[in-house]
Symmetry: C3
């Protein structure tokens, strides 16, 4: 009998909320100052920090490599950048905030009038104190970002303009953490790690993915988990191009982005709309009791765009809190360390842990006493005095028994009963223990 006693996945029981919350915000803080881009040393240093927490392999893809419709671009590195006024003061200074340089700017070293300089300056009139985040990948140019107040304070006259960057052949870097499970089928977690000093977008995703990998590395699990820490767009495209066999094994996947702000959880379904991952996330959010939002797939977003392109159509959804572009601080200097919190990072992680628990446990169980209800009372599963209302635990027992006919998986039972996976797990384990339930063929 003991051979059949099954314990279902319960990752949350392995996690201490307080210390994990502290780890989460700690990693965001540690990574925040680094100037990342889609290539270059900032990216490598960031991956090295992640590699201190979880086993991480880094891959380098040489400049010029063709990956589907794209070519791996030059490697960008930057040492310094500034605009000096006539008096030699740094009126815009990369050393104070790396958002001040348009990311991927070509090197420049020139003196010019404000009129000549002006087309290279980006500001946000509607948020006069914030510095915007701008990029110029795939089209060589340069520029500075500054607050509207800074822009307005620039006097006419000549300025010294320096971007001490390099754009040279090198490579694109991404990190990969594979945690082998009992089966080769994979659960993919992907986060972009190319943005410079922006906290929610997407150091929050990096931190939560790292914490999730750390939990999974500490325990056995059914699926093989693959975590990708990639530069946006070109990163997943490079990975997809180089890993055709692994692509075939992806059975579930999530892109994590913007998971540290105070907004409620927002899930964007995969292109398939009702893949197992879509149903599992929807159920976890419904049974949590907190506000949430579900959205259908759209091809605008983060790297789910690549995983869900028609040539792959992987079952990969996207978990966010406030979606990118829907908060004013998005892609500005106001997406800073105050914008995210340990509590919200932890809430995102907790949601993911329950999603993973449910996916890990999504078996088809078989009721071994399917003709009428089995007598639960003599097995000690319900109280002996009748006549009162059913308690949730009893409901879970009844739902699991009623639907475990070989056609309904645990996700099916969860959806139809509306009960939380915690409740179902307890019922399933109890029914297995007393011989009323067994796992069906997969």
């Amino acid at each position: 009998m003991d051979l059949h006693v099954k314990r279902l996945s319960n990752l949350r029981s392995l996690v201490d909320a307080e210390s994990t919350g502290s780890d989460l915000i700690g990693l965001v803080r540690e990574l925040f100052p680094i100037c990342r881009s889609i290539t270059g040393d900032g990216l490598r240093r960031s991956l090295a920090k992640v590699g201190e927490v979880i086993p991480l392999a880094t891959h380098e893809v040489a400049t010029g490599t063709e990956v589907f419709d794209w070519t791996v671009p030059k490697e960008w590195n930057i040492r310094d950048a500034y605009i000096k006024d006539a008096a030699g003061r740094r009126v815009v200074d990369f050393q104070r905030n790396n958002l001040h340089v348009v990311n991927y700017s070509a090197p420049v070293r020139a003196r010019m009038s404000l009129r000549e300089l002006r087309p290279h300056l980006h500001a946000l009139p509607e948020h006069p104190d914030w510095i915007p985040y701008r990029t110029s990948y795939y089209a060589e140019s340069w520029g500075f970002c500054l607050s509207q107040r800074q822009l307005e304070s620039l006097a006419d006259g000549e300025y010294e303009v320096v971007i001490d960057s390099t754009l040279q052949d090198g490579s694109l870097t991404y990190g990969e953490c594979v945690l082998p499970g009992q089966i080769a089928d994979e659960f993919l977690i992907s986060v972009h790690i190319c943005h410079p000093s922006l906290a929610n977008d997407n150091l929050s995703g990096v931190a939560v993915a790292t914490a999730l990998a750390k939990v999974l590395a500490s325990t056995s699990h059914r699926y093989t988990y693959r975590f990708l820490f990639v530069p946006g767009t070109i990163g997943p495209i490079a990975w997809l191009a180089r890993n055709p066999a692994a692509v075939q094994r992806v059975k579930h996947g999530l892109v994590l982005a913007c998971v540290g702000d105070r907004g409620s959880v927002n899930y964007k379904r995969s292109r398939r709309l009702s893949a197992d991952i879509d149903r599992a996330v929807a159920h976890v959010l419904r049974s949590k009791g907190a506000p949430f939002e579900l959205r259908d797939f759209s091809p605008y977003g983060y790297d789910e765009r690549q995983y869900c392109s028609p040539g792959f159509d992987l079952p990969v959804g996207s978990l966010r809190r406030t979606p990118h572009g829907e908060y004013p601080e998005y892609h500005t200097s106001a997406d800073n360390l105050e914008f995210v919190s340990a509590d919200h990072l932890m809430d995102s992680l907790t949601t993911l842990l329950e999603v993973v628990d449910l996916i890990e446990s999504d078996f088809h169980f078989i009721n071994l006493s399917p003709m009428g209800e089995p007598q639960l009372g003599r097995r000690g599963l319900i109280g002996s005095v009748g006549g009162k209302a059913a308690k949730p635990d009893q409901l879970a027992l009844l739902w699991v028994l009623n639907l475990s006919d070989g056609h309904n998986s645990v996700v099916d039972i969860a959806e139809r009963s509306g009960l939380s996976f915690d409740q179902l797990r307890g019922a399933i384990e109890a029914l297995i223990r007393c011989g009323l339930l067994e796992q069906g063929p997969e």
Copy 2:
């Protein structure tokens, strides 16, 4: 031509509302005082009363008989029970209300202090004047139920405690009324008849089922109707275990419970969710014009739990008014003769009659003039002056003609048109009479 003239089921036309309402409440009143349980003479006497109205066979299943996961329990009978205070007064007296004894209590005859007695006393602090209904099936024990006020008035001191019951080998009894139809396929109506002096739960169900059987016994019908009057849970399990052939013939079914209170009609779908019975009841409720509620199946409830267990998965829904457990009077002495009324019992019966009419008439008819609309005017089916709005009768003619293509049954037409079955019946009969419609192959 006459051979093709068809009259569709119209049970309501056979029923006089006033006398039937009076019969319904009369039977509830007659059965109310009897102390029933899941076995015993109270059950037998109740079945005998039903048997005075309709042809009823009673079956006895011996104690110890194994029925699936269950064993038929001992037979319980009770003559008297009371708690006497030190002065010899019956402070709790079974003769005044049979709810005072925990149903199925083992015999006891003892003197004990209030402190010793207290664990055996059940009351409802939130409704201090009501006596709760409690049972102790399948776990031998004893107890008394009393109002909170009674409980609080008990002084310390010694009490004489007597339950003059027997728990002995005997049998479980259930009643069965089979009304053969033109076909062997069956329509099952099941009611539990094990509760003692509780009016809505479930003498209301017993009375409505009896009245429905009486109507069906008085006329010819297509389906074979089987009415079961059974003790809850163990009753249907015993019936299911002993009647495998009949089980196969059940094409539609309903469990009736709590159908006499003033609440609106509430229908719980079968486990299949869209069986013919589910669609027929939903349509009847939608076209009645009165408030109603539809709910999906859940495995918590009355005997639909057994019929809808995964080994059977019969198309059996449950018709109720206020569902069990959702009214404060549920399983208390306040579920009494004032709690139910002839009008609400009659409304439940009327709903059932229309459901049966619709199921009986759920044929596929064929429009014999399907190319364009047939000319209804020259057949006297619509008025000759044109230009005005269509009347409901005309709409029914048009809907029946339009959808009678061999793919749509009467329930399909009812659902899609939203017209009441009375309207459709009139149209169908008129179209058959003038040769525009005939019944298709079944």
Copy 3:
């Protein structure tokens, strides 16, 4: 490369709103005074007017011809009709309003008292100034319609009653405009043209159909378009009976009626409920931004009743503004030239043009770079500075690329993206131009 450059249908770009609006109301005004019926010279004169705008064949079907369940009735013509009072004054006069005669009235020439005359008089007590429209097809009789005020002013005494009409063997007339396309598959547009001086019902439909045919006649198109100008009910039945081969080729169809009033657009789905035409109209209405209503098919309405009869079940929906019978002016003298406007006729036409554009363009396109997103930036399809929100045009590019996997037609993409067909057309044409998209096999 040029061989693959495809321009999608864009009918609206061919239409000048002001002059077309003027043409629309002009045709309604021109046709308004004619006394039409389901047969006769009024119908022929009306078709001749339409034939001045578009190429129109007229067909005559002889009285007595059997068409399915119907027989083509006698031809009705009328020269004059009146009721003269004792003083010889025309108190009811067909020359003032042709609604005064019950349409299809048999000839009468008699003197009678008011009491004898009264059963032949029809008025509307609830709208005392309006003359009702009444017909007596298929049952020989006669009558007059008049306002309630006129009716009440009739003094007792003798009246001279004259209806100078003829009901004789002749023929039923209908008009047909066929515009051959690149394929033989047909798009059917049907309007009834049998009502006398009623503007919205259905000179609005006649005018809009004529204008749509005029646009289509001026350009090439994929489908073959067939416009039917028919007397109600008997007209489409006669056409269906006489054109079995064309019936087979109808892939999409619309009945137009009541399309000139100020109500919002209301679409009644075909009997199939989700035919391509149903989905296309729904999408156009959803993306227009104006209020609208979608209704499921019902067999009560105009000539969609015939096209959607079960023997044909054609994918023919009905486009209306306020549906017939749902405005008080319906079938009264208040459905006059003030009740319709050029703007509303034009809005109905514009909606139809976009529906036709979408149906014409409903191909399956294939993304030629389906592995990940293609790099739009280097093809000049999106801006080079990143970090800002996507513009609608970019969204359209992404949606078209993402869903063009061979399984989704343009209507599918339109539905799922929610983008207007104008946006999708621009994206499709741009993607074809740069070689990222091609048309799949049909």
